[in-house]
C-alpha cells in the first residue's frame, strides 16, 4: 500500500486511464517513449485530427488531456505549467495556441477535451488497429454523423427521386383515364372522380 503523493494537485481526467502505462517499444527506453509521445502530442495540438495506431494514440491522448487540464488550472502566468507546455509542444507557436485558443475553448467543458474514434481497417491486411484522435471543437466535419435520417444522403436522394417519379406516373395515368370515364357513363362520374382523388392522395 502506497501513500498518495500530496505535493501536487491534479484535476481528474474525464476518460478511462489504465492502471499502468504502455511501454511503446523503443531503443532509447523511457526517454525515447516520451520523445515519441511529444511528437504525437505536438501533432495533435497542431492539426487537431490525426490517425495513429491505437497504442501510441491512447498514450498520447492521456498526455494531451493532462497538458490541457494543467493549462486550464494554472493559466499562462504559472511558470511550471509554462515549462511543461514548452517541453511537450515542440513548436513555439503551439504554446500560444494552447493558452489562447484551447484554454478558452475547453474552460467550461464537462467532457473530455479529446476524442478517440476507431478507424476502419484496410481489407486483407494485418495492420494493428488504427484510431483517429481529435480535439473536440475542431473545424473539420464530424466523423460520426449524428442524424441517421439525413435527407441529403445519396440513398435518400435517390429514393426520393424514385418516389416522385412513381407518383408522377400514377397521376398521368389517372389524368389519361379521366376522359375515358366521362365518355362511358355520365351517371357514375361523381363516384369515379372521388376514386381518382383518393388515388392521388395515396
Amino acid at each position: 500500500m502506497n501513500q498518495a503523493e500530496v505535493s501536487k494537485l491534479v484535476s481528474k481526467l474525464r476518460m478511462n486511464i489504465k492502471p499502468e502505462h504502455r511501454r511503446l517499444k523503443n531503443l532509447k527506453g523511457p526517454e525515447g517513449r516520451i520523445d515519441k509521445l511529444r511528437k504525437t502530442v505536438t501533432g495533435l495540438i497542431k492539426f487537431e485530427r490525426i490517425e495513429l495506431n491505437i497504442n501510441r494514440g491512447d498514450e498520447a491522448r492521456q498526455y494531451a488531456e493532462r497538458l490541457i487540464s494543467e493549462a486550464i488550472r494554472h493559466g499562462d502566468c504559472h511558470k511550471p505549467t509554462m515549462d511543461m507546455a514548452n517541453f511537450w509542444l515542440l513548436e513555439k507557436q503551439l504554446v500560444h495556441k494552447l493558452f489562447k485558443v484551447l484554454v478558452p475553448r475547453f474552460e467550461n467543458s464537462t467532457v473530455s477535451y479529446t476524442k478517440m474514434i476507431k478507424a476502419p481497417k484496410a481489407q486483407n491486411t494485418e495492420h494493428t488497429n488504427k484510431i483517429v484522435l481529435e480535439l473536440r471543437g475542431n473545424p473539420y466535419p464530424d466523423l460520426i454523423v449524428k442524424q441517421p435520417n439525413n435527407r441529403l444522403w445519396i440513398q435518400n436522394v435517390l429514393l426520393d427521386a424514385a418516389k416522385y417519379d412513381y407518383r408522377q406516373s400514377k397521376i398521368s395515368e389517372i389524368a389519361a383515364n379521366i376522359g375515358k370515364d366521362t365518355q362511358l357513363s355520365s351517371s357514375s362520374l361523381t363516384a369515379n372522380n372521388k376514386g381518382g382523388t383518393q388515388k392521388e392522395e395515396s
Binding site: M1, A4, E5, L9, I17, Q62, R66, H74, C77, V103
Partner: protein, 305 residues
C-alpha cells in the same frame, strides 16, 4: 513647506517603527510571514489569468495523508476505504494522534508485556511515513548507547498508549534514510527531551540542517537520489560514481504528466473525502487545543501544612 513635509514623514516613520515594534512584542509571529502574504497579493494582481481558488479543505492532505486511498486503481475499493476512514476516526477519538511530518521528533508509548512498567517509551526522529488507511505506519530513529535503533510503529495500532510530538518540523527531504549513514549526532535525541510548543497559527518550520555522511560503504547510492539534506557527499565520490550518476539521471521524469497523475488522488476525489472527514477532524483539533491550553495554564497545586 518641504521642511514641514519632511518632518511629518519622519514623524510618520518613527510612529510606524514604534507601532511595528509594539505589534511584534504582542504577537509571536515573525515579520517574515507578513511580507510573504503581501507578496502573494501583489502577484495575484499582476497575473492576467487568475488561477482558480483552491479549496481550503484540501490543505488537510499534508497533515493527514493516510486518509487518502492508494492511488493504484487495482487496489481501490470505495466501500473498504470508507469503512477504514470511519475506523481511523474512531481510533483518533480514543487517543490523540497529533500532526507530524517526516523530520519531526516523536515520543511513542506502547504497551509492552516484557518491560517493567508494562509500557515502553521510545523517542526518535521520524524518518519515513508510509501506507494509507489503517495500515499507515511511521519509523522512528534514534542512537542509543552508540547503536542506531529504528522502530516501526503502526499509526493506528491499538497497543499504542500515547504519541507525543516533541518538536514539529519538516526536513529538506521526504525520506531521511540517509541518517543511517550519517554521523550519529544527527540522529541522537535524549529521551528526557521537553516538548517544544509552536505558537498557534505559525506554519510548520522547515529545518535546513544538512547532515554529514560517514565515509563509504553506504547502505544506498545516496548520490543518485538528488537529496537536499546532505552537505559533504561530493568528497566521497569517485570519478566513476560521478559518471554513473550522470548516466542514471532521468531529467524527463519531471515532465511525465501521467506518471504524476498515477501517483496522486485527483482534486475531485479528494474534496469528497475531506468533506466527509473534515468536521470530525476539526472537532478533534479543537479538543486537542483545549487540552494543551489546560496544560500550559494549570494552577499550581496547593501545598498542605
Amino acid at each position: 513647506m518641504a521642511v514641514t513635509l519632511r518632518k511629518s514623514t519622519e514623524l510618520f516613520t518613527v510612529a510606524k517603527w514604534l507601532t511595528r515594534r509594539d505589534c511584534r512584542t504582542l504577537s509571536s509571529l515573525p515579520e517574515k510571514a507578513k511580507l510573504a502574504s503581501l507578496e502573494v497579493t501583489e502577484k495575484a494582481e499582476t497575473s492576467r489569468r487568475r488561477p482558480k481558488k483552491v479549496n481550503p479543505l484540501l490543505e488537510n492532505r499534508h497533515a493527514y495523508p493516510e486518509f487518502l486511498p492508494d492511488p493504484n486503481p487495482k487496489w481501490r475499493n470505495s466501500l473498504r476505504e470508507k469503512l477504514e476512514r470511519a475506523d481511523m476516526l474512531k481510533r483518533r477519538n480514543q487517543i490523540d494522534i497529533p500532526e507530524f511530518y517526516v523530520g519531526s521528533i516523536l515520543a511513542v508509548t506502547i504497551a509492552d508485556p516484557h518491560s517493567q512498567g508494562k509500557t515502553n517509551r521510545f523517542v526518535g526522529i521520524c524518518i519515513e511515513r508510509k501506507g494509507c488507511g489503517l495500515r499507515a505506519e511511521f519509523t522512528l530513529r534514534n542512537v542509543v548507547d552508540h547503536q542506531g535503533v529504528e522502530v516501526r510503529y503502526d499509526l493506528y495500532d491499538p497497543t499504542i498508549h500515547k504519541i507525543q510530538v516533541l518538536r514539529v518540523e519538516k526536513r529538506l527531504d521526504d525520506k531521511l534514510f540517509y541518517l543511517r549513514d550519517a554521523l550519529p549526532e544527527y540522529s541522537t535525541f535524549s529521551f528526557d527531551m521537553d516538548p517544544e510548543i509552536l505558537p498557534e497559527g505559525t506554519p510548520v518550520p522547515i529545518n535546513p540542517v544538512k547532515v554529514e555522511l560517514k565515509p563509504k560503504p553506504w547502505l544506498e547510492r545516496w548520490e543518485r537520489q538528488e537529496l537536499q539534506g546532505i552537505s559533504n557527499i561530493e568528497q566521497y565520490l569517485t570519478k566513476k560514481d560521478k559518471v554513473r550518476r550522470e548516466l542514471r539521471k532521468t531529467p524527463w521524469e519531471k515532465y511525465d504528466l501521467m506518471k504524476q497523475y498515477r501517483k496522486t488522488i485527483p482534486i475531485e476525489e479528494q474534496t469528497d473525502i475531506w468533506s466527509e472527514v473534515n468536521s470530525q477532524l476539526q472537532q478533534l483539533q479543537l479538543a486537542r487545543k483545549k487540552s494543551t491550553r489546560k496544560r500550559t495554564f494549570s494552577a499550581p497545586k496547593t501545598q498542605l501544612g
